[in-house]
């Protein structure tokens, strides 16, 4: 059974006003997590796609095809620890590759298209993508 003291202590913690001196987040800082959203949109046709971010492989799939109804083939949500992302998209089935560096805090959304069947095009955006 919890003692009166224990209950009072927990209550005190619950109503604590969050002043800096007592902020858990401030005293024990952890990694800030952002998200990088990559949207494989137009021009994919049964392609093999390998995506690396900051040197780490984050996505590798084959059979990627754009759905013409919404112009989206697939999307990837990548948790990031750093503010900067160096993105490399390799479409091995077409032997093309594209790279882009983005500030994830500014433009966390990146559209990836295959342009004219021979070029990887990446367009960063601060807004999420809307499909219809």
């Amino acid at each position: 059974m919890p003692t009166w003291f224990t209950v009072s202590f927990i209550l005190c913690l619950l109503i604590y006003d969050g002043s800096p001196s007592g902020s858990v987040a401030a005293t024990t800082p952890g990694p800030m997590t952002h998200h990088l959203y990559l949207a494989l949109q137009d021009g994919f046709n049964n392609d093999s796609v390998l995506i690396t971010v900051n040197g780490k492989q984050r996505y590798h799939k084959s059979g990627i095809t754009s759905n013409l109804v919404i112009s989206l083939a697939d999307s990837v949500d990548i948790p990031m620890e750093s503010d900067t992302a160096v993105i490399s998209v390799e479409v091995s089935s077409k032997q093309i590759i594209g790279t882009l560096t983005v500030q994830v805090t500014d433009t966390p959304y990146v559209a990836v298209n295959i342009h004219n069947g021979n070029r990887v095009e990446m367009i960063p955006s601060k807004d999420s993508f809307r499909y219809l």
Binding site: H35, A39, L68, V69, S71, L72, I123, S128, F129, L132
Partner: protein, 698 residues
């Protein structure tokens, strides 16, 4: 609400400046007055839809030479009227026109492309010009060939200002409501400020949207326990709530306004709308708009921005139902169209530039598609999504689809077949004619395409469309049969691999098939299209068997189910080779079938001196070969039950002719056991059993 296509709208009346060239008849004014003052006479516009008929054909003609955003084209569809049934026949559309505007008549000349082959591809149309308050006049079309010889002449009465008419049903998910109007002047915009809704937006494009009275509230439970829509759940909801849903090509479509989101809305992307019906057969019948997502993104329900995007989303998704692709998929990324994405346009220009310049309309080539492309390219349930989708590149195609528009015959025809055939494998189809209601119907039961009542159309992988022609005309009197509640269908299987044109399926690829049956009243009942694939040989053995089966003599032997004819010896030798060298291969069942059935019957030889000699049936050989067919069929590798029924009855007859009733009985008992295991309708199984019993007892 203004309707730019309404008969009373000034958009549809032309101001004609009458000068001294005008006739008294048109102006109905003294000529002296004409010489001094110009008189303004209002005349009806010409553009719109016209309809006429001639000799069992009905024409729907679309003339588009004046009015709002004219495309300067004509197009049309032909329907065949056969008894009580109206079937689509084909479509035509013009290239650039020569239009001569006389004071009392308009003459239009153009060259046509058509979905069927015809030398009469030049047309001249004359339309008298009428004063407003008078009805619009009929159009007279005369077709010519390239040398100027005259073809048919149709007179088509004016029907509508709209080029096409679509029935639209809008349903909504409980907790949201259907969108109404948006004033395009509420925010920065292109074009003229006006109040628009879905109906008026399409009216501006020349398309009449007639709302059905079947608006329905769809429970969120239809989106599943997670209350997140999937395409499958939307499709199911459409079939439950779309009051006029029909799996045939029809000028009708369904839109669901959703409260709940779609599963494709994730952390990084939001789905505002989708034309979800893009797989399976009869696509493009339904779409959905996710209104809560739009409202959340654009400042809440009722905000101008949310209203603007909701209207845009409604019109955009319905555009997909007309088989319109996104603008950039048609190489027009800078198009200011309902079919572009605002943010994609802005990526290429500048932020906000789409809405600042968008005039709330389709682009010119999209108008051409929805007004004038071939019927199946546009109609909901016609061509698959993105097929013949109006790229504006002048693409052409042939198709075999002649779906029934109105079938009051009380009958329906089903066509089925294996979905995949090996190269060289005989293509056998199953036909089933059945009642559509409980009213009895007398039919001619000669369903096999060897008799002239049933036709099979085949669209080959290269797009060529041919009709299966049996090797020989089978003349036979009708076999009248009463289809009733107790006996509602008849079935037949038919080999259609070889006919007058040789082999029909001798190339790997996908083939489209359709069957048509002529009723006693002269109506034509069409089946739905089916697809079959002929696959490439997967082994050297399959390649060898394909080569052994794909010879003219072998084709004839498949058609005849065997023959001793000397002229077919090479074919029989090829079948012997299949049985000897590749007897374990499932494809050898067809050689066994042909040789087995042939062995079971007597064969008459006519000698050079016209002397007839008879080769007697060989019950033992027939039994051996047909037992093999039975075994393989029993294991699922053989032939269909109708073919097996025929072959085993022949084997039993051969036993009986040899006096071996025991062997005959065993064969027929095996057959009965086999048939009992098949998914055969009760009344047809009963008929098959009765026929087998008769054989034994006779």
């Amino acid at each position: 609400m203004s309707d730019p296509l309404s008969p009373n709208s000034s958009h549809y009346q032309e101001l004609i400046l009458i000068t001294e060239e005008a006739s008294d008849l048109e102006t109905n004014a003294p000529s002296s007055a004409i010489n001094t003052l110009p008189i303004i006479i209002l005349k009806n516009s010409i553009s719109g839809r016209y309809r006429g008929s001639l000799s069992g054909y009905e024409i729907e003609l679309r003339i588009d030479i004046d009015g709002v955003r004219p495309c300067n084209l004509i197009s049309g569809d032909f329907y065949r009227i056969s008894g009580s049934v109206k079937t689509y026949f084909g479509s035509f559309k013009s290239g650039p026109l020569t239009v001569t505007w006389g004071t009392s008549i308009v003459t239009v000349r153009g060259t046509l492309s058509t979905t069927w082959g015809t030398p009469y591809n030049v047309v001249t149309i004359t339309i008298p010009r009428t004063l407003i308050l008078y009805p619009r006049a009929a159009a007279t079309l005369t077709f010519y060939n390239s040398t100027g010889s005259k073809g048919a002449t149709y007179v088509a009465a004016f029907e509508s200002l709209y080029f096409r008419t679509i029935r639209l049903e809008e349903d909504y998910e409980v907790g949201t409501s259907l969108f109404g109007n948006y004033n395009t002047g509420s925010l920065p915009h292109g074009g003229t400020a006006r109040t628009l809704n879905v109906v008026s937006a399409y009216a501006e494009a020349g398309i009449q949207m007639l709302l059905t009275a079947g608006t329905d509230a769809v429970p969120t439970a239809d989106a599943g326990p997670d209350a997140i829509w999937t395409n499958a759940e939307l499709e199911t909801a459409m079939h439950h709530h779309f009051s006029i849903v029909s799996d045939t090509p029809q000028w009708q479509t369904w839109l669901l306004a959703c409260k709940s989101k779609h599963e494709l809305t994730t952390g990084g992307s939001t789905l505002f709308g989708i034309m979800f019906d893009y797989t399976g057969t009869y696509q493009r019948q339904g779409c959905a708009v996710f209104q809560t997502q739009i409202n959340s993104y654009y400042g809440g329900a009722g905000s101008n921005d949310a209203n603007r995007h909701t209207l845009y989303c409604y019109v955009h998704e319905l555009g997909h139902s007309f088989n319109l692709l996104h603008s950039w998929d048609k190489s027009r990324p800078d198009s200011l169209s309902w079919m572009n994405y605002d943010w994609k346009y802005d990526q290429r220009h500048s932020s906000g530039s789409f809405w600042a310049n968008f005039a709330f309309q389709f682009d010119d080539l999209e108008l051409v598609h929805i007004r004038h492309d071939y019927r199946n390219s546009v109609i909901m349930g016609g061509d698959n999504w993105a097929t013949n989708a109006g790229f504006g590149t002048g693409e052409e195609r042939m198709d075999i689809t002649q779906p029934i528009i109105e079938n009051r015959s009380g009958l329906a025809l089903d066509l089925s077949a294996k979905s995949i055939f090996a190269l060289g494998e005989p293509v056998v189809i199953k036909l089933r004619l059945h009642l559509r209601d409980l009213n009895g119907k007398v039919v001619n039961a000669k369903l096999h395409p060897n008799f002239d009542l049933t036709k099979i159309a085949i669209k080959k992988p290269n797009g060529e469309v041919v009709t299966y022609e049996p090797l020989a005309e089978h003349l036979a009197g009708p076999h009248w049969l009463n289809l009733s509640e107790a006996n509602p269908s008849i079935s037949e299987s038919a080999y259609i691999g070889y006919g007058k044109d040789g082999f029909y399926f001798d190339q790997p690829g996908t083939y489209l098939l359709k069957a048509g049956y002529h009723t006693p009243e002269g109506a034509l009942i069409n089946s739905a299209d089916i697809k079959i694939s002929v696959r490439f040989p997967v082994s050297a053995q399959e390649q060898a068997i394909a080569e052994l089966y794909l010879g003219d003599e072998q084709g004839k032997l498949f058609y005849l189910l065997g023959s001793d004819g000397k002229h077919l010896q090479k074919g029989n030798d090829a079948f012997d080779t299949v049985l000897e060298k590749y007897g374990d291969d499932p494809l050898s069942v067809y050689a066994a079938l042909v040789h087995g059935v042939n062995a079971a019957r007597d064969f008459k030889h006519v000698g050079p001196d016209n002397q007839v000699s008879i080769r007697k049936h060989n019950a033992k050989l027939a039994n051996t070969l047909i037992s093999k067919v039975f075994q393989m069929s029993n294991e699922g590798d053989g032939v269909d039950h109708i073919t097996l029924n025929y072959a085993m009855c022949k084997a039993a007859e051969s036993h009986l002719k040899s006096g071996d009733k025991t062997a005959a009985k065993k064969t027929l008992d095996d057959l009965k056991g086999f048939l009992d295991k098949q998914h055969i309708e009760k009344h047809e199984l009963k008929k098959a059993h009765a026929k087998i019993d008769t054989l034994l007892h006779d």
